[in-house]
Symmetry: C2
Subunit: 545 residues, 2 copies
Amino acid sequence: MKIAIAQLNYHIGNFEGNLQKMLNATTTAKEQGADIVVFGELAVTGYPPQDFLEFDDFIQRSEAVVNSLAKAATDIAIVVGAPCRNPVVEGKDLYNSAYFLAEGTIQQVVHKTLLPTYDIFDEYRYFEPASEFKVVDYKGSKIALTVCEDIWNVGNENPLYKICPLDELMPQNPDFVLNLSASPFSFTHAENRIHVLKANVERYGKPMFYVNHVGAQTEIIFDGGSLVMSPDGTVHDELPYFEECIRTYALESVQKGGVKHVQPKEKMTLIHDALVTGVRDYFGKLGLKKAILGLSGGIDSAVVAVLAQRALGAENVRVLLMPSQFSSDHSINDARELAENLNVQYDLIQIEDVYKSYESLLQPHFAGTSFNVAEENIQARIRGMLLMAMSNKFGHILLNTSNKSEAAVGYGTLYGDMAGGLSVIADLYKTEVFELSRYMNKEGEVIPENIITKPPSAELRPDQFDSDSLPDYDILDGVLYQYIEKRQGPKELIAMGYDEKLVHRILKMVNRNEFKRAQVAPILRVSSKAFGMGRRIPIVGKYLN
Amino acid sequence: MKIAIAQLNYHIGNFEGNLQKMLNATTTAKEQGADIVVFGELAVTGYPPQDFLEFDDFIQRSEAVVNSLAKAATDIAIVVGAPCRNPVVEGKDLYNSAYFLAEGTIQQVVHKTLLPTYDIFDEYRYFEPASEFKVVDYKGSKIALTVCEDIWNVGNENPLYKICPLDELMPQNPDFVLNLSASPFSFTHAENRIHVLKANVERYGKPMFYVNHVGAQTEIIFDGGSLVMSPDGTVHDELPYFEECIRTYALESVQKGGVKHVQPKEKMTLIHDALVTGVRDYFGKLGLKKAILGLSGGIDSAVVAVLAQRALGAENVRVLLMPSQFSSDHSINDARELAENLNVQYDLIQIEDVYKSYESLLQPHFAGTSFNVAEENIQARIRGMLLMAMSNKFGHILLNTSNKSEAAVGYGTLYGDMAGGLSVIADLYKTEVFELSRYMNKEGEVIPENIITKPPSAELRPDQFDSDSLPDYDILDGVLYQYIEKRQGPKELIAMGYDEKLVHRILKMVNRNEFKRAQVAPILRVSSKAFGMGRRIPIVGKYLN
């Protein structure tokens, strides 16, 4: 028995594209001598299809793809994830299912039991959980078919579910386990995944084939890293990260165990490659090519420029340098040097004249007030507006350069530096942005050293530094991480040794700025808790603020 | 046995405020001679508390409020909704519960069984469903305690759930049913609610007391309209819409039936009052007072200005008239007349000079291109920027004036007319905005007639009209309603008689503009399907576009 894993980059709702990709992979798997080829969870629709699932037309198109794949399932079995209608009138209308296709027809449909409904996941919004458990018989083998989360309820201290699908299947004595996944990237996920598969293999003693998606769907990135685990708990093979791959394995050799093909999991390498994938697929899947961003001379826009250039190519990236009367010379020079290092088109646009024309227009209304955040924001918004004007005129998509620390505390201007179609690094704390910049310079200076070493400043008034308004980033990021990723409250944070006043000040800033984060572009997710669809906080809430 | 219904306006996370409000209501209920006072679902935390529920500190504060209420439950029983920890390690960590408090302690805790997880609801994200069913014994009565959705699985053609909590409780022969709700407003909801309660009463023959929230939490509005239903299927009483109210009922007289107190449910009255509530509570709950908006002379901003003035008072509303070289005289005159009718402060700011300074700044880059959407958007963004500058300087919150039709097809400028802290009418199709304007003028002209009768125009280039770029609003809104509210696909729409090309064009516009809607302010929800948290569509999706 030979099993092919097809780790592919699907596109939500692109039924023709997904079908063609899977037909090609089926041909490849056949060439590799496979008896079965396995695709990912909801591979037919792409993941997550979200509320498209509520359209009957969408489900019909998905069913048509499943039928086409069934027809192609000759001399090979195809296992593919797709929604399946629930024939029972009570309960949700759909199942999240794995279709077993062979001999030109649908042989069996197995439904997902454990429906993740937390963080970015909303599966119980759409799907009814499975209530029956039956292995698939194929060519004399018994196969335990599972979908993603179904294998994640093993070895947790606080399991989310009361049921364990493989416990239900084991009495039927399957020969091996297939798991169709769409398991989103975070920088610790590849490690966690191996632990969970190990826990399963240790409990059940069966070979496991775990098939993941690769590529990004708006903010959600899939890293691939599909796994084949031997019954002795060793990783028989781990597929590459961030690229499509089709590989075939002989069951007998997986049974034997003793091989260990594991890739390094260095945090910054993973994050770097994930973000490049995220930018590339956002553009690719929307049929776009060209990006624009403002280069301030600061670290955030520098890092985004490098990512954009690597994702889209230098010829598709354009940057604007938009100094005001408050910009320092070094900012302009640093930005120019970076643009030249990256070999991207750059233009210098002085914003002082436009600023003055706003000033004179507002003078009758602002008379008697002093320079404050209103005037600072005007500068940031002029820049946002110029970038959008170029975007509208020439079709470049504006990349947003906010980081997670400033997004958390609201240190940014709505419709100014918070503008953009995709937020590239807003799931990286400022300290992580610095780490990433150093990683980028590891094999030769790309980002001018001065950009990395100078103290961060928004340069919206004379001699302004981030440290005037914010705690040191080391401390700020520590508190933010505990609050956002770890859901620690004020008491826990103070018990960790953080200053009481500072804790209250930071949590207040985070909660009061929910309204700003409600209006930002999708944020490429690389942590276990990113701002956006995976973190839902009421705007009018009066908690800790 | 006398039962008091307390229909209150809670505030998410405002534990002290919610406690004080419930203690006051308990005093009132005692004065009315009540044996029991009933509050709403999750009244302690406010609804929906969303991911605040993931913070242990948040749950502790909620528990403290429940304990304080228990101490106040002397000479009266208090029934209140709050989260309850799940002591079992498997499953979700919390229940969504109704606490029965009497004689100074927690007597019983009943958990919600049916957890809505669709549209704006995410309850399965947080809560474990109940698996036990036990009536509450109090002063010789048996009480069936239910939470919101628990009574909504009766009489549906396509029930979402496999269980019916009252079916489980009836063998224990309860004397009456209490239902603690947080049931969001839509303009058909008050009607639906009566149907569902009637279906329950017809099935079980027991008096029902349904207690709703009132007031808005960001985009979600609660209309109140709490109900007392007699076993004969008549509405014994319906509490007022959009105001707090505490009323006490003798069980015997409810048993008798034959009374019918029902309020009129005229669509535009309900929508008008809901939107006024939505604006008022957004400001009130955030501790804000003053609003600003741009008056274009068009219908959308006119309607929002009226709502703002009614919600916040004329003294708290400021408007800007910002004509460009493309604005018609009548626009300025109409806007001025409206501002004078409303008695709100208005200022005229000509944007042409700023526009020209952008033009000259961009001239080297735009050379050789012709006037297009880029130049149109610059004007819209100058206006957004001026409004935000006033907002930042004086603390007025910008109200967004987009309607649902333009939000649907992307006929608006990001960071321009799509800016704002709260989107007031973006759940009203253009045709409904006209309806609402006529409703506002019913008792005397508030909105100048010319604003209502002239053809809609964005006035961003000479002689521009909406009809140049969009289908007639009557047709557009019909297609949008079927697609958005009713999830009809292209085949169904064409079968309804809509032109095939037009259908494809409209659906494409809707799906391609998901990226714009991802960045807008929260939208006050008045329909059964609003843009925002209740409608989740992938941005990179390639479906119907």
